[in-house]
Point group: C3
Chain length 149, copies 3
């Protein structure tokens, strides 16, 4: 009996937690190069890369690495889901003051899924992966999961 | 000829439809334990779990299982995409009254993708999967698709 | 030694770029049948299909193919993230006038992940895949990545 190379597939996976500590209530971190390094480390040539916030007051999203835009996101999210007055949110009756962060995170999203093609993130010209923090001042995590062959 | 165990990979998949009937126009259901049971049933150790609404007036999203927050989502979504007056939406000229539900669902999202690590949903401390209904009073479905090894 | 058919799994993948040139600033294109054809071409029976905008001022989302609703999305997104006045956005100080497009795209989302079951997109009754353009008048791409067995 002989096995063709096509059947000798090994499904590969990589799991890694990224830790952040944003020293303010809100902030945006470009994590693209960290994720790129993990794709390389995984050895996956064709597959999918999931990156998600592990906390429910933070986002992982893909958009432009341009400071003016990051400012615009901050202003816009505060308009759509204002932090103050904190009493307007029932969630804050639990002793929290972060209800707005749970709302902002829904606009920006929990996760991105990126194609891996020929061993690299298959990105358009301006796509960059960001961690968006809406309730910082403490250590929080994002997860990178890579699956493929 | 010998085959190492590493090449004896069997790609596993599981597909399951979850049915809901929310007895109101809007509501949120925590479906985390149901999805966890399906991950266990699938036998997948390393992989991805997709959960998506199969209807376009509902969402699947991940956030906090806290009643105050669910109230806040309800109020906030109604502010961003009000149900009334129904005449404000062209979609409702088709005889529907659910245009707002198609908008609300875009804010909250259609799907989540969750990593499976060592046979379990790889979750942060507060992540819970919710089905968000924005046009209820009838049977609707979500899909769980698990792929991995 | 004998190999059962279950171990002769070949992981399959397909990568394809779709090109669009929307002849207006904004517009919505139904790309469902194109994606369906690619699923068929891939030969994947059980797997996942990722479809994402490769540009950061466009979306791929799933909702209804109903002209009234597309009108409603246009009006609603313009209300939540207005194009004018362009000076209100710091991003536009770079010489761009598309900051609103970066915001609108976050509401509608970058990507969808769809289950493939028995060789087909596993869709509910009204699910259709759309490319949403928010800064058109030029050639732009979406990516289709299919992974499975």
């Amino acid at each position: 009996m002989s096995l063709s190379s096509a059947t000798r597939i090994e499904v590969k996976s990589l799991t890694e937690h990224l830790w952040f500590n944003v020293p303010a209530r809100r902030g945006f971190l470009n994590i693209t190069s960290t994720v790129e390094d993990l794709v390389k480390k995984s050895g996956v040539q064709e597959g999918l890369c999931l990156v998600n916030a592990m906390h429910i007051t933070a986002s992982v999203y893909i958009n432009d690495a341009e400071d003016g835009l990051l400012h615009d996101y901050e202003v816009w999210l505060e308009k759509l889901a204002p932090h103050e007055p904190v009493e307007q949110y029932h969630h804050n009756r639990t002793g929290e003051d972060n209800a707005d962060a749970h709302l902002k995170r829904q606009i920006m999203g929990r996760q991105v899924v990126v194609a891996i093609t020929r061993g690299k993130l298959d990105f358009g010209p301006w796509e960059q992966i960001f961690y968006g923090e809406f309730d910082g001042h403490r250590k929080k995590r994002a997860l990178v999961k890579i699956i493929g062959e």
